[in-house]
Each structure stands twice: as structure tokens, then as C-alpha cells.
């Protein structure tokens, strides 16, 4: 198999397989979560709609909070930067938009390359600081397991390889493209197996917390 053939395969069938595996895995994990069920709360709620409080928390936990910023600046700032950064890179980098268009038919306009380049650097920097903090800070170190470092690595790799690819570094273009795509596939397949599940379940967890507190009239 030539490099070109391999590239065609990973971009085409390889990607399809990875996406299907990811979706199937996530569906199984969501199902096993939802099938557990939740008992109806029989106490009289203080508010007419507790669900509203659930949705409120889904939104508000994404907003910057002074309390958290003051209490834990490193995790808070780097967490914010790399989440927003990843989102921008995935959604607004023109080649990614074209790739998604080929896959789904949807299209939107992207951001200039120089901006994406800057965001990528900043994202990598934030992620490196996160890693350093996980190793250096005693709380983070105490609660970290192998999977935390593994997840960090597979999240970092697509960003790094994408950056190297754009700047034509390290490997010839096609080879680097293969490495980049495979790193994304690794990330996708790992989603249902790791804490990357939070990408899907954070809406549920925030909603349940917000709804339960809303019953008591507390905005959390």
C-alpha cells in the first residue's frame, strides 16, 4: 500500500469506522446510564418548574465564576482556554469545515489561518500547563489515575499533529496527515471508554444538579 492509498483509506473508510465505533460506544454508555432510572421526587417543590432550573445550570456552569476563579485560578483559566480553543479549532478551521462538509453537506465560514494558528498555540500551552499542574499540585496528583494522563495525551496529539502538519514540520505532508487523522480517530474511539464521556454527559449531570436544587428554590 502506498502512502497515498493509506491516506485515502484512513480519510475514507477508516474515518467512517472510527465515527461509527464512537457513536455506538457512546450510545451504549448513555443507555446503560439512562436505564438505571431516577425516582420521582415526592416532596413539594418550591417552584412551578424545576426543569427550568436544570437547564439554567446547564448554561450557567459554563459561565465564568468569580468564586472559582479566585479559588482555583490555574485549573479554571487553563480549562477555559483549552476548551474554547479546541472548539474553535475543530469548528472554524477551514480544512475541518471542508471535511465536515464532505461528510454531512453542512457548511459555514471559517476563521483566518493566522488566528487559528494563534489559538492552536495557546491551546497547546494551556494544555501543557494543565498537565504540569496535574503532576505538580498535590490535589490533582492525588486524584489522577493512568487514564487521566492517557486522556490528556490523546487530546493533545491531534492538536500537536495538526500544528505540525500546517507548518510542514517533522514528517512529509501526507505522512503527517495520516498521523493527524489517526490521532483524531484514536480520540474518537476513546470517547466512550474514558472520561471524555463528559463531552456528552455534562448536560445530564448539570441538569440533574440544577433541577434538584431548583426544587428547593436554590439556583446552583
Amino acid at each position: 500500500m502506498t502512502t497515498m492509498e493509506l491516506l485515502t483509506w484512513v480519510r475514507g473508510p477508516g474515518m467512517t469506522i472510527a465515527i461509527i465505533l464512537m457513536l455506538f460506544g457512546v450510545a451504549v454508555r448513555l443507555l446503560e446510564m439512562l436505564l438505571l432510572g431516577r425516582k420521582k421526587d415526592l416532596s413539594v417543590a418550591r417552584v412551578p418548574s424545576t426543569a427550568k432550573y436544570g437547564w439554567r445550570t446547564v448554561l450557567t456552569r459554563s459561565l465564568p465564576s468569580m468564586a472559582c476563579l479566585k479559588a482555583i485560578p490555574v485549573t479554571f483559566i487553563t480549562g477555559y482556554i483549552f476548551h474554547v480553543g479546541l472548539l474553535i479549532i475543530v469548528v472554524f478551521y477551514v480544512p475541518h469545515i471542508l471535511f465536515i462538509r464532505d461528510l454531512t453537506g453542512l457548511e459555514w465560514s471559517g476563521l483566518p489561518f493566522w488566528l487559528i494558528d494563534g489559538v492552536t498555540l495557546l491551546t497547546m500551552l494551556a494544555m501543557l500547563v494543565t498537565l504540569w499542574y496535574r503532576v505538580w499540585d498535590k490535589v490533582r496528583r492525588y486524584i489522577s489515575r493512568f487514564s487521566d494522563y492517557f486522556v490528556w495525551t490523546i487530546t493533545f496529539l491531534p492538536v500537536l499533529t495538526g500544528y505540525l502538519l500546517y507548518h510542514r514540520q517533522f514528517l512529509p505532508y501526507n505522512e503527517m496527515m495520516i498521523v493527524h487523522i489517526v490521532s483524531i480517530q484514536l480520540l474518537l474511539i476513546s470517547m466512550p471508554m474514558t472520561k471524555l464521556m463528559h463531552t456528552f454527559t455534562f448536560v445530564f449531570s448539570r441538569w440533574y444538579s440544577g433541577e434538584a436544587a431548583g426544587r428547593k428554590g436554590v439556583k446552583v
Binding site: L35, S43, V139, I143, F204, S205, W207, Y208, V220
Partner: protein, 418 residues
């Protein structure tokens, strides 16, 4: 016969529901919850990170309710939970958690940590890993009717004393009264001024109320230790008494955990809605004040601050009422930093005060309250929970501070227009 660890795991399993699975699925191990917990903040020991307290429950969830966990368990490559693990976690789930719920406010993915800690205690009880002090308190609650061992005749004697002091006759078992007033043992034994204060307020407001000689205790050790069966039995006693007397509303006393027990957990424990309403005493007092049924006089000028009991504010939604009440009798009310739903716990909630194993850590954790009190700079501290009040007095003594602690209901009673 199942072993204690098997019973424990079965109890953990029984507690795990969709919200809990969503919480464990979502945790990103960022450690933000550590900074919200008074025990971590005052010791800087990472084992007190709230999410770490949930490690046994997380492992049960993973091994029993996830595809990968079950696979690993079948292949024999996951580490089974042992009695020794639970033994180690006893300190983390009881001594170093007051169920204050502060951690649940900060988690970026919205994990309700305290919901899971409360539920983890069910597994701890089933496997025999609850602290001795709490076991004894619970057993007194079940057999005598009060975690502090207050019998009905002791209660009646205390009421008699209060009647002699304030000159108001207090009704027992009055059929069809509007309100049934519950008490906490600490209020009966240590802060019995509360009884007279209530009688005075109700007399002025012309409230139709009664005590019950079948159920007077509102606190619920079953909830604190983590035994739903016992907790349900304790709630049922109140429900039976209230429904027998056909009262319209049951009044929860100041005690925060009592309020959580009777207002929020009760119906879920007994599996049905009540035929009466539940109101917290502060809500009722503020309502009476707004309706003009109680007339207050005199404004204290001395600087005064307020300690929000966790179960009343953060886990109960009563934030404005105490402030409005204080402002109606004081012209110099100041907030502590982090007041309201962000308040720091007194250190003795969630059964910690009934657990002597936790005493040293509890007093250490009071350092954070001291900081708050120092910044407020008031010499008078009002609160509205007898347990908080006990803990605050204890801490103030330990740290040799010069602050007087007063109950809000008594403060209001002192300002009633004669």
C-alpha cells in the same frame, strides 16, 4: 448468609441511579471540588477532596453498571472492594463530611457530590462501617425517640419550666390545630429558651398550634448515618402524629438537618406525599411579620452578623427570610464574606457533631469560620440552628474568641412589642 462487604456492595448498588451514573461519567478529575470543602481547605490534605470520598461508590458503579467495568470484573482484572477499603473510607464519608453541599456548587460539570456522599453512607451502614457515636445516637432515636435520649416526660418537664417562666400555657395534642410544632433535642435540652420564645410569638400572632406527645423530635439520625429504613420510620412517626391531629401544617424547628429530613427527604422516605404542608420556623416568622401579626420594637445598634445553616440556605432555599427578620430588629447587620448559599459550614452538620471520632478535625476546620467571623468583626452572631449554635460556641471557645451566639427565634421574641 451474605458477608458484610456483600451487603455493603448491594446497598451501594441499590443507591446508584441515572444522576449518579451521569456524575461519574462526567467527572474530569479537575479537583476543583477540593477548594470548596472546609476539611480540605483547613488541612490541605488531598484525601479530603470531595470526589475522593466517593471512590467506593465510583468503583461499585464502574464494576457493576458499566460495560468496561463488568468486562474487567468478568476477566478478573478489576480490584474488588474490600472491608479494609470501606474501613479506610469511614473517616472520609463521616468524620470529614458535614453534608454541607458546598462542593456541589463549584463542580464545572455539575456533579452533585453531596447527593452521592449521603447515598454512599447507605453502603457504609449496610457493611457495618458507620461511626460508633452515630450508631448510638441512631439507636437512641429509634428506642427513646431522640438522638440525645430525651424522653417525652423530659420534654414535658422542659415545656412546664418554659410555661412557668413565660406564663403561657402550651398545648399538647390539640386536635385540629393549624400547626404542629416539632423540636430538636438540642433545643429542648440546651437552648430551651426557644420553647418560651415560640409560645410568646404564637400568642401575639394568635396562631393555633400544638405539640404532639407522640412525635416531638424533628431531627433524623437515620438520614445522617445513612439508613433509609430507620430514617423512614422516624419520619413516619411525625407523619402519623400530624395526620392523627389533622393539623394543616407541620413546623420544622430551626435545626437545618431536621428541616431537610422533614421537608425534602421525608415524603421520599415514606414513599408518598404528606397530607399536610411543612414550613420552616423562619419562613413562618417572616410570614407573620409581613402580615403584621407580630409587632416588633427596638432596633439593636450593636454590630451583628448571621451564620447561614447549610441545610437551610444552600440545601433548603431559605436565604432572604432570616435577613429580613434580623433587619427588622437590628440597625447594624453585617454579612460575613461568603454568606448566603456560599457560607462555610459550622463543621458539625451531617452527623459530625454526634461523632466524637471527628471532634479534633471539626475544631480544626473551624479555622475557616474564624476567618469569616474575624472579617465580619461583629461581637454578636445570630444563627438559626441549634446544632450550628452548639458547634459555633464550641469553636469560639476553642479559638478563644469573644463572640456571643444567639438564636434568631429568641432574638425575635425579645423584640416583641409587649
Amino acid at each position: 448468609m451474605s458477608t458484610s462487604i456483600q451487603r455493603g456492595i448491594a446497598a451501594f448498588k441499590q443507591q446508584i441511579d441515572t444522576p449518579i451514573a451521569s456524575f461519574f461519567n462526567s467527572c474530569v478529575h479537575c479537583g476543583m471540588c477540593a477548594g470548596a470543602c472546609l476539611f480540605y481547605e483547613t488541612t490541605q490534605d488531598p484525601k479530603y477532596t470531595p470526589i475522593n470520598k466517593l471512590e467506593p461508590m465510583r468503583r461499585v458503579w464502574k464494576q457493576e453498571y458499566t460495560f468496561w467495568g463488568r468486562l474487567a470484573k468478568t476477566l478478573g482484572i478489576s480490584k474488588p472492594i474490600t472491608d479494609a477499603d470501606l474501613d479506610e473510607w469511614q473517616e472520609l464519608l463521616y468524620d470529614s463530611c458535614t453534608l454541607c453541599g458546598r462542593c456541589s456548587l463549584v463542580c464545572p460539570v455539575g456533579i452533585d457530590l453531596v447527593y452521592m456522599i449521603r447515598k454512599s453512607r447507605e453502603g457504609m451502614v449496610a457493611s457495618g462501617h458507620a461511626p460508633e457515636g452515630l450508631k448510638q445516637a441512631t439507636s437512641r432515636a429509634m428506642t427513646i425517640g431522640s438522638p440525645m435520649g430525651v424522653t417525652i416526660s423530659t420534654f414535658k418537664k422542659q415545656v412546664q419550666h418554659a410555661e412557668d417562666e413565660c406564663g403561657i400555657k402550651m398545648p399538647f395534642d390539640k386536635q385540629g390545630a393549624d400547626y404542629l410544632l416539632l423540636m430538636s433535642s438540642a433545643e429542648i435540652m440546651e437552648f430551651s429558651e426557644f420553647i418560651g420564645a415560640m409560645a410568646k410569638i404564637f400568642k401575639q400572632a394568635d396562631v393555633s398550634w400544638t405539640f404532639s406527645s407522640e412525635a416531638f423530635e424533628a431531627t433524623n439520625s437515620g438520614i445522617q448515618i445513612g439508613s433509609s429504613d430507620l430514617a423512614a420510620e422516624l419520619v413516619q412517626r411525625v407523619v402519623d402524629a400530624a395526620e392523627k391531629l389533622q393539623v394543616k401544617t407541620v413546623i420544622s424547628p430551626e435545626c437545618g438537618h431536621a428541616y431537610t429530613a422533614i421537608r425534602w427527604d421525608g415524603p421520599n422516605l415514606i414513599g408518598r406525599a404528606y397530607k399536610f404542608d411543612v414550613i420552616h420556623i423562619l419562613e413562618l416568622l417572616d410570614q407573620l411579620r409581613q402580615e403584621g401579626k407580630i409587632k416588633l420594637e427596638g432596633l439593636d445598634k450593636e454590630k451583628i452578623t448571621f451564620h447561614d445553616p447549610c441545610q437551610i440556605v444552600r440545601r433548603g432555599g431559605i436565604t432572604q427570610e432570616p435577613r429580613d427578620l434580623i433587619n427588622s430588629v437590628s440597625s447594624n447587620f453585617v454579612e460575613m464574606p461568603c454568606s448566603g448559599k456560599w457560607n462555610w459550614c459550622c463543621g458539625g452538620g451531617g452527623g459530625v457533631s454526634a461523632n466524637p471520632d471527628a471532634d479534633e478535625l471539626r475544631l480544626k476546620s473551624f479555622a475557616i469560620k474564624k476567618q469569616q467571623l474575624d472579617s465580619a468583626g461583629a461581637k454578636k452572631l445570630v444563627t438559626s440552628c441549634s446544632n450550628c449554635r452548639n458547634m459555633l460556641e464550641d469553636g469560639i471557645e476553642e479559638y478563644e474568641m469573644d463572640i456571643e451566639v444567639i438564636g434568631l427565634t429568641e432574638l425575635i421574641a425579645d423584640h416583641l412589642k409587649e
